[in-house]
Symmetry: C5
């Protein structure tokens, strides 16, 4: 399992004025989808084509969720910022991805940066999602259009509890969905580590090493992100920024709890990965040693024998043994005797033959259960 | 010693509304056992079949311990929640196991999540036990029926001190029982590590490596759980949640102390496990080196001899030695001399013969006392 | 990538009175450039030749940026200190480089020490830049004249937002430029590490080792600097020193955020570097093992054969085989048979031939994406 | 140096009511010695046989030191608790050893748990000593009778300063004696580590490894204990528990200081032990490599020579050299030449002969001074 | 570079009454030098022979610096304590060296313990220097007479700023001189590490290992001392003990800053030392591997050749090749062919000849710049 990034670091040039936007060279087209809802079944959905329509949206009653997918042109973005009174630094953090997951308070709104994690073809993809949380609206910014928020949309359309709650609960529902999205990733990672673990014990190859290294880097990255999410959620759960009501804080505490749990699992993966590297090294060395041992034993058995046959290959005139009828078979007998004695000796010492048994034993004792949880 | 989990991670789908319950596919049947008691020998026990009976239970005088084993159907669980005013998020934490050990305050009740550790056939099993602690009742939720709380039941029936105390003391008695249940597990783990230690020094095999790795993972997991229990107990001992009376806080401080002690033992196991891995690697390398040394020494002794016999196997016409009567015995004498000289030289250098002595010495100096405590 | 320092540690002798200045043996000439600006397009730039002109500068209206490049003579420096009321200890920290990045409050002014990082011919160069931040002026001290502040100068000349802000914003603009200057360095470092990573897997040589070591030292140094910058910026962002207005604090928070981000990337580089060292060691050992395995296998195949030909080189009179016509080809057949059997056996065991496949597999599975971010 | 425990973990069964006492199967007989003293030379000593005598002791004027050696029967212990109003949980901590070193406040008295360390036949023995500190008395509990408090007894009998001070000073005097008892243990440990260090460099054997491992475990255990003593002493020195007067706090601060110092020494031992393990591994590998190098060089020199003599052992009819008179000596000359060339080449490369010089150099540069302090 | 201690641990026996002095067996003679100074050029210096003269000194106007070199007899020391009202515990800390660097407040005076570091013949020597800081006097205690405070004496005699300041500034001047004395030590250590680094890459020997180990221990020790100095200076700089005036606190902050800087350098040395150990191990293994590779290649080339000549040494009657005129040269040609093919094959595989190139490459890429700073 490796990681893939939907975004690559984009920053304005060094020394640019603060609040400069670094849009991608080929900006993705922008689509804006607005959902207005409120108690009593009030629910309006619409796609916004012209940014100016948002002036009207802003003024509407009820809770507004403005979903912005793709950044589009700079002028439009700046106009959105103007309409909702977004601080230029906040807007810059939305556009100049990646920013670390965080919560920042500005006058009139909060900025929440989160990273979405998804599995795409067995690879882990991370993407920044930014939220501007105002008194009665939430703007979500994503660079690519995804269906990750579909369940929330369904809940709103279904007139669930969410419709009777204020904008901070909407923010919670969106962020919670992102955090929960880490669970399948972490589970897949756990399964991948189990596979690596088995490979480490049974078939350590160079591929195992690069896989352990890759897993370690992915864990490092996810743990770092999750730690920052956790801190951000703790800020929200304790209501430090003053925008989250006491009821919704309970919900954020639940989200915070999930972040803590995922983080702990990742921390233990990290230690397991270190342990795997050590096991890999030792597995490699055991395997090599077994090979060398067998080969060296073979050489060692034949070397004295070769010496013996060399002795009777000497051309001295007076070697009485050479004349005896029984000498040749006797030498063979001697050599077989030497070889058998050495094999028995080596077996007793456990230098040959023991390797296979170790394997058998080991198989029956492999750690059960994966590293998950 | 490996770990086994009675529960596997169950979560509602990503994006589900908060408070969703993820019951197991085949829910275990639910049995509810209620004990009401109070000062003056008041004691009523009954098995509740219909959830509605709990309305009456709730209204009863005295302290109520409602033991729920198995989750049963969702409707029944929700009804229990309604009767006792359990917050939906608290109920979700009870059902969607595993949650990390923690204490959370809600209006009217606290939620305490703890993990029970037991030894089942030399394996460590963990199971979540959840407590809803109200003003005059404690509800305990377990997924499988266990007899772990039997001693508490016996104490209540015996009219011990516990009968004169309030619900927070009951909560203490139950949680303390869970925490103390870690002692036998940790002791068994200590014994297992001693066995591994001896094996590491005497007979390092691939099995040793997987065992060290498995022990490390189990330690990691237990230490993580115990750290969280410790933090939760510290919250209770300091009375932060406002529900624990000053007298019972002393008892929780005692429990907290046990958690600290177990945690410290686990922390030292962790360091010992790292040290064991290093010892294993070096044991392996010493053992291999000894084999290679002996084998190489054998080769090295025979190689010059083989060269010598080769010399007199040459077919030159004018090799005066070949004609001499004494030449053949002389060559033998020379060869024996060379071999003996080399053996003496190798012995002096400590390259052969020393290995055995090392073994003997080492045996008399093995660390006494296990890693326990 | 290695590091280079523009400055070498200069300190006054041990026991010198505090505030002593340790100027370089050959002091670089001093050039002073002043920019005065204010709202309404007020903008004056001038090069100051005589230090006494600064008296007039100090008295002028608007925000003053006094850029001092090169320290020049001690008397001049002390006079500058006098004119602006700089505390002798602050002046000593400006001159006796390197000081750690920090913020210190003195009466009437603050001292900010920062380290500039730049890439010069693929090497990382660090240089101390010091700022004296007063109520309406900023003095920047650099030992060598650089064009790093050009973008800020351009922004002032262009009459941008900066012209309407006070001196603390100017300080922010300058410091932010320095911090952002770490991005390209860190990115280059990330690329260098990717190169090392590939080399570690494919061609581990002694050069790889010294490169990993050098990278580790550079990371260590940059992370240390960045950690201190972060702490200094946190002080400024929280307005602890009482000189930064609430509006500008938001900007410093942004800078602080960049420092945190760079720091986190460096921390992960650090772990990756440790992992690289382990991979290097294991790569080395795998590669060596492959060589040894092949060579040992060759020896092992030939040793029994050599024994066999030795047998028939013996000079016994009664060796019936020697007389047979078919004996010589039979021995050849036997030897080929032995050799083939051994090769097949070794192949089955995976001792030969498997190495190449491992390589192929490994190549298709290298971790994608560099260590950046 | 290994560790030995005078006590083995004793706990009541899981689920037992809090305050249960787990006395050893064969309880050691209890002896109680009381010293009453006060200003003006007031001094009474007596051995208490019947527990009831303590009622009178409690009522006596002056400071009382009740020394309880051996726990005896449960009823007697509980009676002592009753007389002095000891909380059941405190009494349980005294009996159910080992408890971690700590200070706990109860109504009317404090509980101080400390661990005594002593050297017994070159082994480190740990034993729990518990103190109940009341307003005008100190009860000390030890499981085995020791003479560790003799110096304090002598000071009291000698009418020293201690006789004019209150009970908290007595508690200080006793605890300080225990803490100072770690100095000789730590010094012996330091000497043991120096011995191991020399062995690691000069004669690394399997015994060295088990010794390093044992030392590491002992250090781990002592450091853990000392850290907890330090925290407990810090509580006392800051007077947090409200029982220690301001004058005596200064003395506890001194004790705290000793604990910090011992702890720091142990922390550095810990790092040194890790370094020793690495040195051991590398020593082992150097030593092995030297052996292998010499042996391999010997083989390598003889292998081409053996080939050469093999050439002239061939039975071709037309080998003109075989007929020449000078051929045999010439082959000898050639062989000597090849051997000498190879030896010179190997020497130049530093593959032989260098080992001894390394030894010599190393000896003159061994780290002087032990790891102590 | 190794460490040497001018003092060895001296403690009173376990259980001695607090404040006991453990003077060296052969106490160094005591010399007392007093400097009185004040504003307006007031300056008196004198050598005190009789301790009683200090009564008069204490009463004198102006700031008094009483320099005590060598402890002399206990009675005299106790008398000095009496005259200046030094707390017995403070006096014990002065005499019973080593104490950890610290600041402690007593009634009427503070105790400052610092460790002086000096280079003596390329070795690092540490010595405790203690200061009693009163309202208008500073007593400095040193066990051996050193000229380390000469620069301060010169500054006082020269009538510098110091003469107009109070006793706390004198304390600062003395302590600052000690702290700055670490700079040359740390620089020498940095140079030593650079030398070790080069040796590690070019000529790894057993000596290198003991040097790395020794450096590591020295770094450990210095870092520990410096960390404690830093904490003590932080206490002084924040004026926590209430004796340091606000002006002098600025100066202590400067000293604190130096301690932080030295500490950070030592921390990075520590990481570099760990990295060096790893490089050493890998250097060793590369070097060994190169040797073994060359030797094994030589063996491997000759083994098939030896087999070949063995074939034609067989004594079969019917070996047609033996009769052919061209057979002998043909066998030679075959053998040369086999050898050349193998050499080419090995070269292609990079098993021979590559080692030298690696060396060359490595040399051009060694990390530039030492570990300093």
């Amino acid at each position: 399992m490796v990681q893939r990034f939907a975004f690559h670091g984009r920053r304005p040039p060094v020394g640019a004025r603060p609040g400069s936007l670094a849009l991608p060279a080929e900006p993705s087209p922008r689509s804006i989808h607005v959902i207005e809802y409120g108690p009593g079944g009030h629910l309006v959905e619409r796609d916004v084509v012209d940014v100016e329509e948002l002036v009207e949206v802003r003024g509407a009653k009820g809770v507004k969720w403005i979903e912005v997918n793709g950044f589009g042109d700079e002028a439009g973005l700046r106009r959105i910022g103007e309409i909702f009174g977004i601080h230029p630094l906040a807007l810059a953090d939305v556009v100049n991805v990646p920013q670390r997951p965080k919560v920042e308070s500005y006058e009139g709104h909060d900025l929440v940066i989160a990273w979405m994690a998804r599995l795409v073809e067995r690879e882990c993809e991370l993407e920044q999602v930014s939220f501007i949380v105002g008194a009665d609206y939430v703007i979500s910014f994503e660079e690519e259009e995804e269906d990750v928020f579909d369940p929330v949309r369904v809940r709103i359309r279904g007139g669930a509890l969410i419709c009777t709650m204020s904008a901070d609960y909407l923010a919670y529902a969106l962020i919670d969905t992102l955090i929960d999205g880490y669970y399948p990733v972490v589970e897949a990672l756990g399964e991948a580590m189990e596979t690596i673990e088995n490979e480490t014990i049974d078939q350590p190859s160079r591929r195992t090493m690069t896989q352990i290294h890759a897993a370690r880097r992915l864990i490092l990255r996810l743990a770092r992100a999750m730690r920052q999410h956790r801190d951000a959620l703790s800020t929200l759960a304790r209501g430090e920024n003053g925008r989250i009501g006491p009821e919704v804080r309970l919900y954020f505490r639940d989200s915070y709890d999930h972040a803590v749990q995922i983080n702990e699992v990742l921390e233990s993966y990290r230690e397991i990965a270190v342990s795997l590297m050590e096991m890999y090294l030792s597995s490699l060395s055991i395997r090599m040693n077994e090979v060398m041992k067998v080969l060296t034993v073979i050489s060692t058995i034949f070397i004295p024998l070769t010496f013996l046959v060399g002795v009777y290959g000497m051309n001295f005139e007076y070697m009485p043994e050479l004349r005896q009828r029984w000498a040749y078979p006797a030498v063979w007998a001697l050599m077989v005797g030497v070889a058998v004695t050495m094999v028995i000796f080596f077996r007793r010492k456990g230098w040959i033959g023991g390797g296979e048994e170790d394997d058998a034993e080991a198989e029956s004792d492999e750690p059960r259960g994966g590293p998950t949880a």
